[in-house]
């Protein structure tokens, strides 16, 4: 077993703030976040162990998101984490995406920078969507169609960030306007 550096600890004040983010939580004794820090250490060790077991089982050298997801779905104690990994695609099954969960997740995280991994996996799911890619000028029309495009919302949002890179690659003929009338 690796020699654990005893100096690496979770920030106690930060833990207290995270606790008090919950409106129900009132006063917290000084020793309490210290105790939670220890529990957190043990929890981290457990979750990393479970995930890395999956990694090794699958013959990989890097712990991927779906290894973590598999571990969470397998271990009862980790039930409460299912929502967090819901959006992670499992490559072997072809990946089912829960769009709503993903949308909720993105709202929580704000702009996720390392999402490229999962977004690329999703890209293979559906055929290249026929969508207009208009900028500021047609924003109004775009908003009207937001409801119809609810499904695509997630991908669109993400792709707006990667616009420069992706635009060249995909063919998006503007002639498809007719499909979206009314």
């Amino acid at each position: 077993m690796k020699n654990k550096n005893k100096a690496t600890k979770f920030p106690v004040a930060r833990i207290k703030r995270i606790m008090q983010k919950d409106e129900e939580v009132g006063k917290v004794a000084q020793a309490t976040p210290v105790v939670i820090s220890k529990a957190l250490e043990l929890f981290l060790a457990m979750i990393v162990k479970e995930a890395s077991n999956v990694t090794v089982e699958r013959g990989s050298k890097r712990v991927e998101a779906y290894h973590l997801k598999h571990a969470i779905e397998t271990v009862d104690m980790l039930d409460f984490l299912k929502e967090i990994v819901e959006a992670v695609p499992d490559p072997s099954a072809g990946g089912t995406i829960d769009i709503e969960a993903e949308a909720a997740e993105r709202k929580k995280r704000g702009k996720g920078k390392d999402k490229k991994g999962s977004s690329d996996a999703n890209g293979g799911e559906k055929p290249a969507p026929k969508r207009r890619r208009r900028k500021a000028a047609d924003k109004e029309k775009e908003e009207d169609e937001k409801e119809e495009e609810q499904e695509m919302e997630v991908e669109e949002g993400r792709e707006e960030e990667e616009d420069e890179a992706e635009n060249g690659g995909r063919s998006r003929p503007d002639d498809d306007d007719d499909d979206w009338e009314g």
């Binding site: 550096n5 004794a29 309490t32 220890k38 704000g110």
Partner: protein, 143 residues
């Protein structure tokens, strides 16, 4: 709570655990040949934060059931048991014991200072005298 936080204090919404700290801990836990993807690390951080919320929420309920206003470490321990994390409680209780002992030692130190009846100046003078004495001893043994 004295806690040196480098890298600024996050606003309420972005409240999370420090990436560098977690990254280091993860790499210490993994076997030598295995690394962790960035995406996975970020997910793990979210899981940790969720764990804090889970335990805090349960502990808060227990606290209320006991008609207490402040969440005590004992509530955390009960919460861990209730949520299926009994395997954690031994080490957690040990940490609590150490912490209480440290607190006691700190108090004892303060009391000792107050009770010895000497002012700070007098104590300093005593300290200087001790230093001088040991310095002398050191010099004589050198020769």
């Amino acid at each position: 709570m004295s806690d040196h936080e480098t890298g600024g204090i996050p606003s309420d919404e972005d409240l999370s655990l420090p990436k560098a700290t977690v990254t280091k801990m993860i790499s210490e836990l993994l076997p030598n040949e295995v690394t962790c993807a960035k995406e996975t690390r970020d997910l793990i951080i979210e899981c940790c934060v969720e764990f804090i919320h889970l335990i805090s929420s349960e502990a808060n309920e227990i606290c209320e059931q006991e008609s207490k206003k402040t969440i005590a470490p004992e509530h955390i321990i009960s919460a861990l048991k209730r949520l299926g994390f009994e395997s954690f409680t031994d080490e957690v209780e040990s940490v609590l014991k150490d912490h209480k002992q440290q607190q006691k030692d700190r108090e004892r130190k303060v009391n000792k200072m107050e009770q010895c009846g000497l002012s700070e100046a007098e104590l300093l003078a005593q300290q200087e005298a001790l230093f001088a004495k040991s310095r002398e001893k050191f010099l004589t043994t050198q020769q």
